[in-house]
Amino acid sequence: MTMMTNTMGLILSGWKKPALKDLSYKRSVSAIPFGGKYRAIDFILSNMVNSGIKNVGVLTQYSSRSLMDHLGSGKEWDLDRRYDGLFIFPPTVSDEESGWYKGSADAMYHNLSFLKRSNEEYVVIAQGNGIFKMQMGDMLQYHIDKNADITLAYRRMYDYTAEELSGLGIIRIDEDSRITDLQEKPLNPQSDLASIGVYMLRRTLLISLIEECIAHGNYDFVKDIMIRKLDRLNIYGYEFRGYWRSISSVRNYYRCSMEVLDPEIREELFIRNGKIYTKVKDEAPAKYNEEAEVTNSIVADGCFIEGTVENSVLFRGVTVAKGAVVRNSIIMQGSVIEPDAVVEYAILDKNVVLTRGKYLKGDTDYPVVVSKNSRV
């Protein structure tokens, strides 16, 4: 694999996803807790670091506080460096700057000085809400071999319905893998090849494309740069064959969380080809008491289990008391399921208390979401 010491990373993390409802209330979608101890952004950040990238900028917009708290100085990703490392760019207001970013290209434009003063030859741009494991060096090699101006990673979404496809960016490619069409969230998807939101190009090209885009009064990287330049630039598709999901709605968050119970997928995401790093919490190992009945579930450190847990994900420090049942659910950090309470097909955000004897049930397609710090 090509190590990408000559590449910098840009992570776009800030856009609000109304379909995530309460889960993204007061948190950026990239900061959504996932997989028992992670947040969504850990995946792309770890992918970049595992691929040898040492200079990463995170462009945030909406409710970036939990994200900034999570990322800190970047030390968990080995990005607390004397030179380069991790840079977080929330919107700022000054004489020239107007505050909120209008779109992804606008966000990059407002931080153009970061791109200009970096000296890596290539930039990889990615989204903060993708759950996947990718060796990005392979994509860089492909980009170089194809002599491409821009390379976009795509995945054949054989495991998505047409309805789900229409929430993605759908591409068509010719026999040489050159992208001939790119439609953002099309009503009638023309193929099952979806962009996974990872782009690779030369840093100097990116700077000139952004300057041109903003000069024309535009602000979106996909609509105003990628789609408009399909004919004029060599834009190639790079097929990514691994597992990939983009967290964008309660439904796909739930589905993706449940898919991670599959040992194959977990092996791919967490064990093979590099680790996934996250902010550490100093929790003791999980404790099981006599009455614990746990099956097909992920359990993080600091959990305390005296009840029944089936097909579920327990984040750090969750308590499942005696007689309580957790089934097909995702229970986030610090939540408590009191004695004899039952929860099925639900997503409990952080520090929720399901009180004694309560019964809470959703549906696979419509899991119940209980927002942070609620007492039910």
Binding site: K37, P263, R266, A284, P285, A286, E290, I298, D301
Partner: protein, 426 residues
């Protein structure tokens, strides 16, 4: 530089030879404990939680794992601009160099280190015990008494007392007599090996002790008696919490098993007094359909397809289907094969137990080679060993580090036997 009021010196050089194969290649303070920790984490976390941010760790025996574990002290928040954690190993001097000859000599060889920090007090700790203690309360006690030495003590039973240094005190807690491992103890207040000294006084005694040929250069045997003989102000500080010396296989196993009880006497989950250690980069653990865990402590990265009862699993342990682990401790990244049954054993790191292996079944006869170490019915498998499929092992068996299939002479290892790496079959 801000002057430190108190710094800690942590004696971590001991071998802990009664832990057998567990300390063959690591100092006792570096032995894994409680599903995630190493023994030294408890003392280091006590320092961090007591506001002591300068710690010298004195190492001597097999320090590799310990050095690696402590690093620059990040988990304990001791990666500091001033102070922090410093590993103090024996070093060459201008005209000679020597090993630490005793606990006191270890400190006296590092007088320069302490002087540089110029603390008013030093606290001497050993990295051998499992306990939570607020050293700042003890320091307040030391100051209040205007003491020159304060020794932390715990009440033990009369039978146990002869294993410890025993204090006799007056009503105010002032020590008037000290007996090191006495046959006929005059009290049951045992020294926990935690001392606070006023540094100037201690330094004087260290220098004096160093020049004595007949000294063992030991705190318990030499320094404390000498100070007592001089009528120094020495007080005993009573500690009432959980405190365990995990110096033997039996004690080590018991202290781990204490953690799996319904309400453990020793609470690892106290948010006010966390125990810190480097966190492994592993996903949460997974219990598969068909797997089952009860009355156990399980760390991150474990994959459980079999059954776990009354046991402690460290990070990354893989338990295949139909395996049963009972009353056992399984250390990091070990693999327990399909259908294997383990009872009362300690499995070191990176051990591979094959399929349908049975460990811990048979008569409780002490180990033939080392009866003093393996005699409590517990079988111990050293780090990196590979146990071939279908092997049946008894109690008090010792399997050497990195012993492989070629070292097993037959499918049966009777109680009390040992299997050595590169050992000869009869």
């Amino acid at each position: 530089m801000v002057k430190k009021e108190i710094i800690a010196l942590l004696l971590a050089g001991g071998q802990g030879s009664r832990l057998g194969v567990l300390t063959k290649k690591s100092a006792k303070p570096a032995v894994l404990f409680g599903g995630k920790y190493r023994i030294i984490d408890f003392s280091l976390s006590n320092c961090a939680n007591s506001g002591i941010d300068t710690v010298g760790v004195l190492t001597q025996y097999q320090p590799l794992k310990l050095n690696n574990h402590i690093g620059i002290g990040k988990p304990w928040d001791m990666d500091r601009m001033h102070g922090g954690v410093t590993i103090l190993s024996p070093f060459m001097k201008e005209d000679s160099g020597e090993w630490y000859k005793g606990t006191a000599n270890a400190i006296s060889q590092n007088i320069d280190f302490v002087n540089k920090q110029a603390p008013k007090y030093v606290i001497i700790l050993s990295g051998d015990h499992i306990y939570k203690m607020n050293y700042s309360d003890m320091l307040a006690f030391h100051r209040k008494n205007n003491a020159e030495a304060t020794i932390s003590v715990i009440n033990v039973s009369y039978e146990e007392a002869s294993r410890y240094g025993i204090m006799s005190t007056d009503e105010q807690g002032r020590i008037y007599e000290f007996q090191e491992k006495p046959e006929n103890p005059k009290s049951t207040l045992a020294s926990m090996g935690v001392y606070i000294f006023t540094w100037e006084i201690l330094r004087e005694y260290l220098i004096r002790d160093d020049q004595r040929e007949d000294s063992d250069h030991d705190f318990g045997k030499d320094i404390i008696p000498a100070m007592l003989a001089d009528g120094r102000r020495m007080f005993a500080y009573r500690f009432n919490g959980y405190w365990k010396d995990v110096g033997t296989i039996q004690a080590y196993w018991e202290a781990n098993m204490d953690l799996v009880k319904r309400v453990p006497e020793f609470n690892l989950y106290d948010p006010e007094w966390k125990i810190y250690t480097p966190n492994p980069v592993k996903p949460p653990h997974y219990v598969a359909p068909g797997g089952s865990v009860k009355t156990s402590v399980v760390a991150e990265g474990c994959m459980i397809y079999g059954n776990v009862r009354n046991s402690v699993l460290f990070p990354g342990v893989f338990v295949e289907k139909d395996a049963l682990i009972e009353n056992s401790i399984v250390m990091s990244n070990s693999h327990i094969g399909e259908g294997s049954v383990l009872d009362h054993c300690i499995i070191g790191e990176n051990v591979r137990v094959g399929k349908n292996v049975r460990i811990g079944f048979g008569d409780d006869v002490p180990n033939t080679d080392k009866p003093g170490i393996y005699s409590s019915g517990i079988t111990v498998v050293g780090e990196g060993a590979e146990i071939p499929d279908e092997t049946v092992m008894g109690k008090n068996v010792m399997i050497d580090m990195y012993a492989g299939a070629e070292d097993f002479c037959c499918k049966t290892v009777p109680s009390g036997a040992s299997v050595y790496k590169g050992g000869e079959c009869e």
